[in-house]
């Protein structure tokens, strides 16, 4: 029986975090889009103002002398809904294939739900690819609503080029 435990990520975890970010991106067929580096993860997550937080899931090796292995993670941060206030935003959530079905995902979600309650958030939000049926079902089973469906919200983006264009005054 595989023993696992959840804990808060530490600076030393950035290489595992990046590895799992890439594995999840690969699962979403977007692996080449990950340009983030361990250095950025370190500065952005463990500096004066953390821009994200992570929970790590570790399993103990077969021998007690083995290093525990990081097999899952959730990356989240706090957002603000102008109608109801603080929200917990679940950005990435992934458990390695060989460790699924053990309850790690449920335990992570339970931990995040507790955290959301403790920090007086009124909801947890996240985005799912519409063709990711297993994940859509995982969330719907736990009461998640598809706001894109029900309320017709569409996610938009200005990329760096557009931002630079908008920030620079037009040539006279």
């Amino acid at each position: 029986k595989m023993e696992y435990k959840l804990r808060k990520a530490e600076p030393r975890d950035v290489s595992d975090i990046l590895r799992l970010v890439k594995e999840l991106a690969k699962y979403e067929e977007m692996e080449h889009q990950v340009t983030l580096t361990e250095q950025e993860l370190l500065e952005d997550g463990f500096g004066d103002t953390p821009f994200y937080h992570c929970i790590i899931a570790e399993i103990q090796g077969a021998n007690s002398s083995d290093e525990p292995k990081v097999v899952g993670f959730a990356m989240y941060y706090f957002t603000y809904d102008p109608w109801v206030g603080k929200q917990l935003y679940l950005e990435d959530f992934y458990v390695m294939d060989e460790c699924r079905g053990l309850g790690i995902g449920s335990e992570i979600l339970r931990h995040l739900s507790n955290l959301a309650m403790k920090t007086r958030c009124t909801g947890m939000m996240f985005v799912v690819a519409e063709n990711n049926e297993p994940s859509v079902q995982f969330y719907k089973r736990r009461g998640a609503e598809d706001l894109s469906q029900e309320e017709g919200w569409r996610l938009f983006r200005f990329d760096k080029d557009s931002l630079v264009k908008m920030a620079t005054p037009p040539e006279e």
Partner: protein, 169 residues
Amino acid sequence: MASFILRTAEPKDVSDILRLIKELAKYEEMEDKVLLTEKDLLEDGFGDHPFYHCLVAEVPKGKSSEGNTVVGFAMYYFTYDPWIGKLLYLEDFFIMQEFRGLGIGSKILKVLSETAVKTRCSAMHFVVAENNTKSIEFYKRRGAADLSSEEGWRLFAIGKTNLLKMSAK
């Protein structure tokens, strides 16, 4: 001569911020969903750890038919994309009807873009209601891409009741 100014919101602005949040919610036909109070806005935006930032647009006293000087706002915060890092997330963006067409919206977007570039964000994200064609065009004219269309992302939410259910298990 500028007919309006933009500035960072201060604690004294929370009642105007709430008023404009309600006006925007009304425009989206969701007015009764605004449960936030001025006190929440004060604690959450001007405490030790701000959960949001605001820019406000002001006009000289006497210009607004309703006597307000704060006529527009943008509420934003920073998020994190695990593929590319820091993002600026534009949460609410609204100009009172009688002050549209004066370039206030464009100026706000310009200041937000400068903020994003200065804080080394890779992009600005925001959500638009799919039936809000006017806003969609405003953003598309400035280079915004509809990720829901292009990449098929759908926004989900788990509300308080279900969070409580999950945290109790």
